[in-house]
């Protein structure tokens, strides 16, 4: 269970990195497309086939952020109950909490762009918490090898 905890925490940290890469990919692609004469307005943005290099970044960011990462966060919390990682439940709760903040800041940022800054900042909180959780699980594994209770 401890390694499950560690692997989930690592996956969440990697997902945060993917999120950052995807959104910059999308925004850069959009900028490049506009540079080439593309025109963006609400109708274009909502058109299903808006086609520029990087458009997939928006989709991946949305699906990852609103579905996959929250589920990973929940899984980490559940696994933390069994993983016997010192402070593991608390760390998993922090990870999940920052995922919740991240989702809401991401959505609210559509209407209030300054909240987008919180979204960017909180990404580091989430990433650090996930890395710290993974590290704690690994260290715990080294210091106190798992003993099977009779």
């Amino acid at each position: 269970m401890r390694s499950a905890y560690r692997i989930l925490a690592i996956i969440i940290a990697i997902e945060v990195v993917i999120q950052a890469m995807m959104i910059v990919f999308a925004v850069a692609g959009l900028g490049h497309w506009v540079d080439g004469g593309g025109t963006l307005d609400k109708a274009a943005f909502e058109s299903e086939d808006l086609s520029f290099t990087g458009v997939a970044g928006f989709m991946v960011h949305g699906i990852n952020g609103m579905m996959i990462i929250p589920l990973l966060g929940l899984a980490l919390l559940v696994v933390s109950f069994f993983a016997k990682v010192p402070g593991g439940v608390k760390l998993a709760a922090i990870v999940l909490g920052s995922i919740v903040v991240q989702v809401f800041a991401g959505i609210l940022g559509h209407d209030a762009p300054y909240i987008g800054m919180i979204h960017g900042l909180n990404a580091f909180v989430l990433f650090s918490a996930a890395v710290y959780a993974a590290r704690t699980a690994r260290t715990a594994g080294v210091e106190t090898p798992t003993t099977v209770a009779a």
């Binding site: 307005d41 609400k42 109708a43 909502e46 589920l71």
Partner: protein
């Protein structure tokens, strides 16, 4: 036993904590899954808006019930205009020459212009040649009898490959409208299964009539299928009526180098329009704005397409401010009293985590509930209805009510002071409240949904239901009907 509990306390707590998280989630997941097919009548919960719930209502005796399929135009009357539409699937060549994968009516997209004169009975014979998922045709903005509304699974069954369906309705109100599929609409509309419908006034209009159907195909913005500037031959001094029809999922901004008047919105004339300078109009998804300009003029429709009337006057700078229809034109007496509504409904849109049909995500909510647990707004025929549409979802929603035109009463508490602003499609911005009112004068079961059709497919759909109306059709995977 106590020994056992003590020894395994940690595991027991862990299992209990897991169950506390997993069981409600599993239950919510299971509860959200949709049956193979279901009736729209079984969706959600009845919201009577403070009015009576009984099937009989207070406007006389409606003891009997009537089926959606019987709510038709006068069957004895002959059609004044007959149109045939054939839907196909495949490669579409736009007027600009660009080829896209999608759908056509009569081989083109946009489909052919359907023209009729006010008072005509229009008969449209629709044939589905090879659109695999089936089709239907909704007459966006025309307040048709319910059976002709063209919503698969609500007012008819989807028209399968090789099948035919005839729509018959009287067009009473001159103006700009459009038609589009309401089967798998979030895919079929964006990929081309739509066309314009214009109802001419009985008294001929001397203006140059210009159609400007805006649509984004595969990321490319078009006007009537053309790209860039669309040139219209007209002589200086002539007056033109430009009918902007937004068939996309989001608003389009329209502005001009020349002063213009907004003659009509959503097929209803503006009372005493005045000249607009230094303002742009934002045409919501599904909405239509008719603008009057004097030639020569450039009507810019979004950044990349324009209608150029006569000699091109050159680029038009985009004004930074939208024209506010709330105060545009002159007030006029309404045909009903919106201050004494029989029913007041809240349509509050939000966004929250949950499951829709077993899929986890951040979903649109209506009054806090996720689809399909959405309100079924119940009215009696003759009711004056007030809708308070609120948006706290983080994104704009272009709200479209089928079968009725509503008048905008207020926005964020600010009352309308201009011409009666009649709409069938209206943008409700985030953290905004728009109040609209109408008379329930068209019995049936009517969709009331977001016309960002992806949002509708994600569950931002409710219905207006008249008491005493029953629905024989079914929705869902097994029925073949997927209106969104």
């Amino acid at each position: 036993m106590t020994e056992y509990v003590r020894a395994h306390l940690r595991q027991i707590v862990a299992i209990a904590a897991t169950l506390v998280i997993v069981v409600p989630l599993a239950w919510m997941w299971q509860a959200s899954r949709m049956p193979g097919s279901y009736s729209v009548m079984d969706m959600g919960y009845v919201d009577a808006g403070g009015g009576p719930v009984s099937g009989t209502g207070h406007h006389g005796d409606h003891a009997g019930t009537i089926s959606v399929s019987d709510l038709v135009a006068d069957t004895d009357r002959a059609a004044d205009v007959v149109v045939e539409l054939t839907a196909t699937q495949g490669t579409v060549t736009l007027a600009s020459g660009r080829e896209v994968e999608g759908f056509t009516f009569n081989g083109t997209s946009p489909g052919p212009l359907i023209e009729a004169t006010e008072g005509d009975l229009l008969e449209v014979r629709v044939h589905n040649e090879d659109v695999e998922d089936g089709i239907s045709v909704h007459w966006h903005g025309v307040d048709v009898p319910n059976a002709e509304d063209g919503v698969a699974g609500v007012t008819q069954d989807a028209i399968g490959v090789g099948e035919d369906h005839v729509y018959r309705f009287v067009v009473d109100d001159p103006g700009s409208y459009w038609y589009h599929s309401h089967q798998m609409s979030h895919e079929q509309v964006i990929r081309g299964l739509f066309g314009p419908l214009v109802v001419k006034p009985a008294e001929p209009d001397s203006r140059v009539d210009v159609l400007a159907v805006t649509h984004t195909y595969n990321g490319t913005r078009t006007l009537n299928g053309e790209e860039g500037d669309v040139l219209v031959d007209a002589s200086p001094g002539q007056v033109a009526r430009v009918r902007v029809v937004n068939t996309d999922n989001g608003a389009v901004r329209v502005w001009s180098n020349a002063p213009y008047d907004v003659l009509a919105v959503d097929g209803r004339d503006v009372n005493e329009p005045s000249e607009v300078v230094g303002r742009r109009v934002a045409v919501p998804a599904g909405g239509r704005y008719d603008l009057e300009v004097e030639v020569p003029a450039r009507i810019q429709i979004g950044g990349s397409t324009a209608i150029v009337l006569g000699e091109d006057p050159g680029p038009a700078d985009e004004p930074g401010v939208d024209l506010d229809m709330l105060s545009y034109g002159q007030p006029a007496t309404l045909p009903f009293d919106p201050t004494k509504p029989d029913r007041i409904f809240d349509y509050s849109m939000g966004r929250r985590p949950g499951f829709v049909d077993g899929k986890p995500g951040m979903w649109w909510s209506i009054n806090g509930h996720l689809w399909p647990d959405v309100p079924m707004y119940l009215v009696d025929e003759g009711d004056v209805v007030l809708f308070r549409i609120e948006n706290h979802s983080g994104e704009v929603h272009p709200m479209h009510l089928h079968g009725h035109h509503a008048v905008v009463i207020s926005r964020d508490g600010e009352p309308a002071t201009g011409s009666p602003w009649w709409v069938d499609s209206v943008d409700v911005e985030n953290d905004e409240t728009v109040e609209i009112a109408f008379v329930a004068d068209n019995p049936g079961i009517w969709m009331d949904h977001c016309h960002n059709l992806k949002h509708a497919a994600q569950g931002l759909v409710a219905h207006l239901m008249y008491s005493g109306v029953t629905d024989p059709y079914r929705l869902g995977g097994d029925s073949g009907n997927e209106p969104e």
